[in-house]
């Protein structure tokens, strides 16, 4: 095995790329869960974002339009979940699963004419001399715009939840929907908006896979990224900064196992491919060791709200 072929700067740069889809999806899901809603359909929204983004990207030739329609597609899927769980008061776990199963089916239906096609992808932002700085240049500069957007979004969500009034209302709705309702806040409206935001983020994350990271459309290409995003929210104890750390950690493991595969490590390929999932389980176990039962989850997470009860 030749470990010297793995350059640390390239490794960090590519882990940021690998982590971005999960980061976007996990950040969206965190906001949803902060509002007290458990949407297990992240995988379905991501794959729909991937296919919508790819189709729009191919048809229009513009990856930006692709990302826009991915966000719209993800949000539309999320609102389907929102109407079912918030208006028709269905079980959130079951509806989230339904969203994933439906999204996987619908996306392969929509994308069947687009398998194997290439599309325009987003270029790196060229910052000229900055990119040429050894090590830091490659790590910090010269990424594509969505990587920076995702980091800005982390900052935005953090500030929104911590410093704004609307963020406080959202957290109140998640901690005690009855109290928030009694204070006159529209619980259902806040939750629907949070759900739509989560869907848009998941859609962006999916489109990042199909338009930048891979960049192609294949059936079921998210391969559990949505579920890993859900695990990261738990790992991050519902904090934006830790979502970033968690996503980059997983991005690191993904990139490392890919690098080890190409470097010809004397470990079975299947074990390496399973590593991100195994590490997710391991992290979940460590979290539950630390947090005990319940932990820092929003108090009303997953509980249905019906105003007249």
């Amino acid at each position: 095995m030749d470990l010297s072929s793995i350059s640390p700067a390239l490794l960090i740069a590519s882990l940021m790329v690998a982590a971005t889809p999960i980061l976007l999806a996990a950040l969206g899901e965190m906001v949803v869960e902060k509002a007290g809603v458990l949407n297990l359909g992240v995988e379905g929204m991501m794959i729909m974002g991937a296919v919508c983004g790819f189709i729009a990207g191919v048809e229009s030739g513009s990856p930006w339009l692709g990302f826009l329609s991915a966000a719209v597609g993800g949000a539309a899927m999320a609102l389907l979940f929102g109407v079912l769980t918030q208006v028709l008061l269905s079980n959130q776990v079951a509806t989230g699963l339904a969203l994933t199963l439906f999204g996987l089916g619908l996306s392969s239906l929509l994308g069947q004419g687009y398998v194997g096609i290439k599309t325009n992808t987003l270029g790196r932002i060229d910052l000229g001399p900055l990119t040429d700085i050894p090590f830091f240049g490659r790590v910090l500069f010269g990424h594509d715009p969505i990587v920076y957007l995702s980091i800005l979004l982390v900052l935005g969500v953090w500030a929104f939840l911590k410093y704004t009034r609307a963020g406080l209302v959202l957290r109140a709705v998640g901690e005690s929907h009855d109290a928030a309702h009694a204070l006159g806040y529209g619980v259902r409206r806040v939750r629907l908006m949070a759900i739509a935001f989560g869907g848009a983020c998941a859609g962006l994350g999916g489109a990042y896979l199909s338009l930048v990271r891979v960049p192609q459309w294949t059936e079921g290409m998210t391969a559990g990224a949505g579920w890993i995003a859900l695990a990261i929210v738990v790992f991050a104890s519902w904090r934006a900064g830790r979502v970033l750390a968690g996503a980059y950690l997983f991005g690191g493991i993904t990139v490392l196992q890919l690098n080890l595969q190409t470097a010809g490590a004397r470990v079975p390929v299947e074990l390496l491919s399973a590593a991100p999932y195994l590490v997710t389980i391991l992290v979940l176990v460590l979290i539950s060791l630390r947090a005990g039962r319940g932990g820092d989850a929003p108090a009303c997470l997953g509980k249905p709200f019906h105003a007249s009860s």
């Binding site: 008061l89 738990v234 079975p268 007249s308 009860s309």
Partner: protein
């Protein structure tokens, strides 16, 4: 204004009618989807739902329906028990794969001996594999409170990699040079899970599904364990006060569903699939979730739901062969069915009132 008013107790009439309403709504929405794909919706629906049961070639399709319904029902019965108790095992697909691998490996140890004891031995190991895979989320949940949804699901991806490694490495048929995949178990007399009555599609998996349905039904309605399952699902707090051992319940529910999923995998690998191959995982474990809900988490309802879902598979294949309907349309159709089912469930628990309400 339309608003909802909670019923004091769920409506029994709607509870029975809502799956039928959901199926009807899905047919309408599915028909629209088929029309959007440029197919005649009525012809598509007829090809999927009518021809396999009553059409010209029904004699062939009817057997296929039972072949597909067997594993779906077997897995769904186990899942439903857990869902009833609020234990969310969504990794049945993984337990199904590991069951198949364990069972196949246990049998292949004796290859090429011929003995009637080999097949039952394989079934036991298949069940054991499923249980072992399900015990990981169960024990983590009980001991540490780790989320069983995420762990059981992550294990599906681990199982898929295990399957790939078994197919190309340690279970690969040593006589087939260069080809991945194990020896053909359906063509080895000791392990073949063949049709029991010719032309019906009934193999041992279908028989096992039937036994599991009866067992689960009796347990839920007649046994203390079943009462505890229902109690824990309806009111976890009441269950704790009532002295229900939640940890034991979680282990039992996950173990039972893992066992059935593992057995389903073994019956599949020795029969319809024939061998451990890379594409052995066919998504039964996920479709069984829809089956469990469509059957209202009731073992008897699951039989009907499993048959219907098997029909969409068989009819969907026919439609894709005859009408060129993409096979992905069927999985979208199945997902839609689950959506409508969850949506119309509102009628079971709530009354819809039109007019000015007291509470908004």
């Amino acid at each position: 204004m339309i608003h909802l008013e909670r019923r004091p107790t769920p409506s029994r009439a709607w509870g029975a009618a809502s799956p039928l309403l959901a199926v009807a709504l899905t047919m309408v929405a599915g028909g629209l989807m088929f029309a959007a794909l440029g197919k005649d919706p009525l012809e598509a629906l007829r090809t999927i739902f009518w021809d396999p049961v009553l059409g010209e070639f029904a004699w062939y399709f009817r057997g296929q329906i039972l072949v597909k319904a067997g594993p779906l029902i077997l897995i769904a019965v186990g899942l439903a028990l857990g869902f009833r108790a609020g234990v969310w095992n969504i990794g049945a697909e993984g337990q199904y794969i590991v069951g198949a691998i364990c069972g196949a490996a246990a049998g292949l140890v004796f290859y090429p001996t011929d003995s009637v004891r080999i097949f039952p031995f394989m079934v036991v190991f298949g069940a054991f594999g499923g249980i072992a895979w399900a015990m990981i989320p169960a024990l983590l949940k009980v001991r540490l409170g780790t989320n069983e949804i995420l762990v059981s699901l992550m294990l599906v991806y681990v199982a898929e990699n295990l399957l790939a490694s078994a197919a190309v490495n340690w279970l690969r048929n040593p006589d087939a040079v260069g080809f991945p995949g194990s020896r053909n178990l359906a063509r080895w007399d000791a392990s073949a899970n063949l049709e029991l009555i010719e032309g019906t599609g009934i193999h041992w998996g279908v028989v096992a599904a039937l036994i599991a349905v009866i067992f689960a039904h009796v347990m839920l309605t007649r046994h203390l364990m079943g009462f505890q399952v229902r109690l824990a699902g309806a009111s976890p707090r009441a269950a704790r006060f009532g002295g229900v051992n939640t940890g034991r319940l979680i282990v039992l529910c996950l173990g039972f569903s893992g066992m059935l999923a593992g057995m389903a995998g073994l019956f599949e690998v020795t029969g319809p699939a024939g061998q451990i191959s890379i594409d052995f995982a066919s998504g039964y474990g996920f479709t069984a979730i829809i089956v469990a809900f469509l059957g209202r988490l009731n073992p008897l309802g699951i039989v009907a739901a499993g048959l219907l879902m098997a029909l969409t598979y068989v009819g969907g294949e026919a439609a894709s062969a005859n009408l060129g309907l993409p096979s992905a349309a069927i999985s979208a159709f199945q997902g839609m069915l689950l959506f409508f089912l969850l949506a119309v469930d509102v009628l079971t628990n709530f009354r819809v009132r039109v007019g000015k309400g007291v509470a908004a």
